[in-house]
């Protein structure tokens, strides 16, 4: 088992959203059925999707931020942020497939074949899965230089996530435009760095 080099408070930061989500789930199931509104499954799908997106943004923010404030410790936490992003993306998918579609495989398959926003979202999820399972020290050693190349998959994954959001939106693009600008700025900064170094 690889050491994840996580300080204890960092674990709390990672698990805090999950704890908050669990509190609301327990509240809904045992005390107040309206705690998550009239469509609690949809509310959970949205919630986990948003949390995953936030961790994706954090991951992309690490490199430029640590260059800016010279914080090496931040770089060491990147792996945990990435794994957390994948875990919340997985919860996003599980609540969609299990709670919304109730594991109706036929509907799941049809969505996956016919609905472009599902196709791009699922593809992004597969990329994150690949990155998560190769995030341990053993994989880093085994893959060598190829590991860095492989983990650049995070960029296309981020773009697919944004497309997923654009295609889910029905009329107001304010939120997705904000995330897109944020991600593009981070990518631009990397591109400038590469150009100047």
């Amino acid at each position: 088992m690889d050491k994840l080099l996580l300080s204890r408070w960092f674990w709390w930061v990672l698990l805090l959203p999950l704890a908050l989500a669990l509190v609301r789930v327990v509240d809904t199931v045992f005390y107040d059925p309206s705690a998550l509104g009239p469509d609690p499954a949809q509310a959970l799908v949205d919630l986990f999707g948003t949390i995953a997106l936030w961790f994706l943004c954090f991951v992309l923010l690490v490199t430029p931020l640590q260059a800016l404030i010279k914080a090496r410790w931040l770089l060491r936490q990147r792996r945990a942020l990435g794994v957390a992003c994948f875990c919340y993306a997985l919860l996003h998918w599980l609540s969609y497939a299990g709670l919304l579609l109730e594991w109706q495989w036929q509907n799941l398959g049809q969505d996956l074949l016919k609905r472009p926003y599902i196709i791009v979202g699922f593809s992004a999820g597969l990329m994150l899965l690949l990155l998560a399972v190769t995030s341990n020290n053993g994989s880093v050693r085994a893959l060598g230089r190829r590991w860095r190349v492989l983990h650049r998959l995070v960029y296309p994954a981020a773009l697919l996530v944004l497309i997923h959001m654009f295609w889910v939106a029905r009329s107001d693009y304010t939120e997705v435009v904000m995330y897109t600008v944020f991600v593009l700025l981070l990518l631009l900064q990397r591109w400038r760095n590469r150009a100047t170094s």
């Binding site: 509104g37 469509d39 609690p40 107001d172």
Partner: protein
């Protein structure tokens, strides 16, 4: 009259309250024709909790609502969800935005401008517009294009009774409705990256507008319409997707051609003029074959099959005889 009621959906699996059930049976009985049982002073409407800020004349007109044989007998979606979870993009795109941001909207005093191919055009105070029209309670299924649905006890006047007041000319083939435009009171109308042109426009073919099921709603759950549900006046067309039922109506125009509606302008491939509920025609981004009847729970998503014309096919199917519904969606 009775032929218009088509309740193919079964009663909800959740056991309804005893009181509620009794009322339903009583309603059914009165609908069958035992009108004598129905003393005029008895109120059939569910009364919502809380204040009703509407002017007294509107409150009292709504309180005199009589039950309708067109009402569904399905379990009602609770008041808190009907008024706390809906789409009214003028107040924001979140489902709780209309309730949250709708409170600064001042619907009174209200006027409606009627124009176009009719004899009785002009601008009318809401009170004059509704004076003498009998308000009914109509419990209708509402099927959102997003594949969820509710059962809602509306109050309102039959659209035909209202429109006849303006004496439409024979050339009037369509009626266009326009919502209020008040960006200072409606944050969604100020949205910079919104893909919707305001004011919101909707329209019906004249025979659709005059159909007995078409309602001009003035209230819900025994009270006047809350701001978030389209105060003080909104359309309810139960066999069409919810977005056809335009809210907070300021203008009614009789025309000889179909208007371009707001959602057609926004995305014609996804939203057509007719927008009849149709399980056989998917939205390009999701299936319309099923819907989730709200409220659902975490472990029971309440999926039910969607019915053609939202279960009102017997009443309205003839309006679309011979039309290719995959083309005129």
């Amino acid at each position: 009259m009775k032929a218009l009621i088509t309740n193919k959906l079964t009663e909800h699996s959740v056991t309804p309250e005893a009181v509620y059930l009794n009322r339903r049976q009583w309603l059914k009985a009165s609908a069958v024709g035992a009108a004598g049982l129905l003393a005029p002073s008895m109120k059939a409407v569910e009364v919502a909790p809380g204040d009703d800020p509407a002017p007294p004349w509107l409150q009292s007109q709504n309180k005199q609502a009589s039950p309708s044989p067109f009402s569904s007998t399905e379990k009602l979606t609770p008041y808190e969800y009907v008024t706390g979870y809906n789409n009214f993009y003028e107040f924001g795109t979140g489902k709780d935005d209309p309730e949250k941001y709708g409170q600064d909207f001042n619907p009174h005093p209200w006027q409606v401008t009627v124009s176009g191919l009719a004899e009785g055009t002009g601008t009318f105070d809401l009170e004059d517009l509704l004076k003498g029209l009998a308000v009914e309670e109509r419990i209708y299924r509402l099927r959102c294009v997003e594949a969820w649905s509710m059962v809602i006890p509306w109050l309102g006047v039959p659209m035909a009774a209202l429109l006849k007041r303006f004496k439409p000319l024979s050339g009037a083939q369509y009626v266009t409705f326009e919502s209020v435009y008040r960006p200072e009171e409606m944050p969604g109308q100020r949205s910079f990256f919104g893909a919707i042109d305001y004011p919101y426009i909707e329209g019906l073919r004249m025979d659709e507008a005059m159909h007995p099921l078409t309602l001009m709603a003035t209230g819900v759950y025994g009270r006047s319409l809350p701001n978030q549900n389209g105060a003080p006046l909104r359309l309810v067309v139960p066999w069409k997707y919810g977005f056809k039922s335009i809210k907070s109506i300021r203008k009614i125009t009789f025309t000889d051609r179909a208007p371009q509606t707001t959602w057609q302008k926004s995305n014609a491939r996804e939203y057509g003029f007719y927008a009849n509920v149709n399980p056989a025609v998917d939205h390009p981004r999701w299936s319309q074959a099923e819907e989730r009847r709200l409220p659902s729970t975490l472990f029971a998503s309440n999926r039910v099959p969607t019915l053609p014309f939202n279960g009102y096919a017997d009443a309205v199917g003839s309006l679309y005889q011979g039309m290719d519904l995959t083309k005129y969606y």
